[in-house]
Symmetry: C2
Subunit: 387 residues, 2 copies
Amino acid sequence: MNGFIYNIPTKIYFGDKLCMLGDELKKYGKRVLLTYGGGSIKKSGLYDRVMKELKSAGLEIYELSGIAPNPRIESVREGANMCKEHGIDVILAVGGGSTLDASKYMAAGAKVDFDPWLFLSERAPIESALPVVTVLTLSATGSEMDGGGVITNLATNEKLGRMEDILRPQASFLDPALTYSVSSFQTAAGSADILSHIMETYFTTEPDLYMLDGIMETLMRTVIKYAPVAMKKPCDYEARANLMWASSWAINGFITGGKTHAWSVHPMEHELSAFYDITHGLGLAILTPRWLGYCLNEKTLPKAAQFGYNVFGAPATYTKEQAAEYGISELSRFFFGTLGLESTLGGLKIGRENFAKMAAKATGGGVINGFIPLTAADVEKIYELCL
Amino acid sequence: MNGFIYNIPTKIYFGDKLCMLGDELKKYGKRVLLTYGGGSIKKSGLYDRVMKELKSAGLEIYELSGIAPNPRIESVREGANMCKEHGIDVILAVGGGSTLDASKYMAAGAKVDFDPWLFLSERAPIESALPVVTVLTLSATGSEMDGGGVITNLATNEKLGRMEDILRPQASFLDPALTYSVSSFQTAAGSADILSHIMETYFTTEPDLYMLDGIMETLMRTVIKYAPVAMKKPCDYEARANLMWASSWAINGFITGGKTHAWSVHPMEHELSAFYDITHGLGLAILTPRWLGYCLNEKTLPKAAQFGYNVFGAPATYTKEQAAEYGISELSRFFFGTLGLESTLGGLKIGRENFAKMAAKATGGGVINGFIPLTAADVEKIYELCL
């Protein structure tokens, strides 16, 4: 068991707390860059509510809209330039993971003189960043409480991310009611994303704290219980609240404890959505059960069986082999049956033509040291299993 | 379901990280007040290790030792005066909950001109405080990550506490190996304290997030699994690590979510240890099963049954009544059998002579609105059940 450093200072306003937004922002200064996506926040009325709070707090507002899903480096560059040009004090990101991720790199980009893509392509050091405050409208990426962000560069077919404590938002407003308007498909894909974050951490052969395993199992059961409820009853507060808070804790770093293994499914999926611009959570759902099946061996069996018993309730009479298989088949049934997600790459009209190239990129020319070590050849086989 | 504000910025160095202590302290300035208890840290060698780190960081060290279990207001006054006199920049508390609790009020007392007892007796506002960093040697109170502290005034027979975000430590060093030397009795009493913190939050008739219930059940199962291991094998890292991290999460505020009900057993116990100076965790263990049995009614039954099923594994075939009774009897068996704690107040030579006075104080002349509302008459009956 390894030691670790736990450092998650983001303050969370959970529930209907938007009336505190102005006071929170004023802590950092007067000039706010408001970032958002395609305008759904205007339709929903959230834009007007936020503007009212900012104006009554006497803040000076600049706006950058049009941040796309799988956010592009072009948006980051534009935001960073706006921050410099207008002397922005704090960025307010209103939206889902894409808007939040892009805003984090704008915050860092505002402090340097070079192209912010270098933060990702060259891992240029991130030594300071403007404060970021968020108002979340989609439960999925966990960006509201972590220091991560993934940016797409379509010019180079790259989708790259990193995690830095300095990029954690100062505060996030999590109102489950703001996710009532999330579509059934986005709810399903977001839930697959949350589950994947937990599973990337959970599936390891490294020993770690028992309590963290139990907490991860609880978080997974929470998503499995409430994702279908939120799809059927979009305005079910309890379902939306559980998904929202679970999404933050799936990836803020708490469940990681002292584990040091690499994530496996995310790098494989990032190539999929970099090449085909598919929804991240959908790609994760297609990949995860195949990956898990591919990983089964003597060393991984105990954890895979524990997943079957504790997350999907495999009967105690099952052998470990049976429990592991049960867990994987129930997970498939959950993604492709209950959530109704497309189950194959073929169904998305994705063929094998780029598999070799994607596999080489996903492994960075080396090995992903996750639940089992994966070479490019392994990754290619897993893509094949998804066809 | 209520909204809530989550704000737990304390940074945690978990494992063998003492080499980072100097750098952490230097952030706040040069003059450190080192606080500790009865000198066990000198016997264990921890004192020398800490001094070595402080000296090599070039810090100026002042010391206040002799902080007693159930820490006294006299220590707080002395520490606050030392902070003012020497212009202390940061307090380093090395020890268990008592040292940490006292240090928090010293940190606040350093900033005011009045007697720090007024923070507790009159709830004088705590508007600022010196930064506090801790090195924990006992898993129990959770003081390393929360804003709480309980101080005893033997002159007035009062034991009072409060919770303020501003009193949260800036950083805490949690090395499970530092708890290897904790005695079997203190391990048992500390574990009862951790369990009680979780149960005070868990047992409510207010609806709250499903995921938080699951996390609380995981934390309780963690303590139940590892407390006996740590008692039998004091140097079992895994057991000590699970107890240590569970103790922080039992009371740092995360599991509270949107619940607003009052705690019940802690105020009853505080009177016991204020009057008789008994170990806090022992008092909690004696009270809790009796309190829980006393609370059983139609409204509380579902949660009590859930506790029986999910924490102690009552068979699914049990009725709710059976599951609730099973949970309570297993809890008693755990405290008084497995952990070997004294099971009655009579066994501690405590009679009923002060029950009426203690009950009146515990309820503050009103009602404790916890799992069920408790009047002074109720509390007196619960004390009677403990004889």
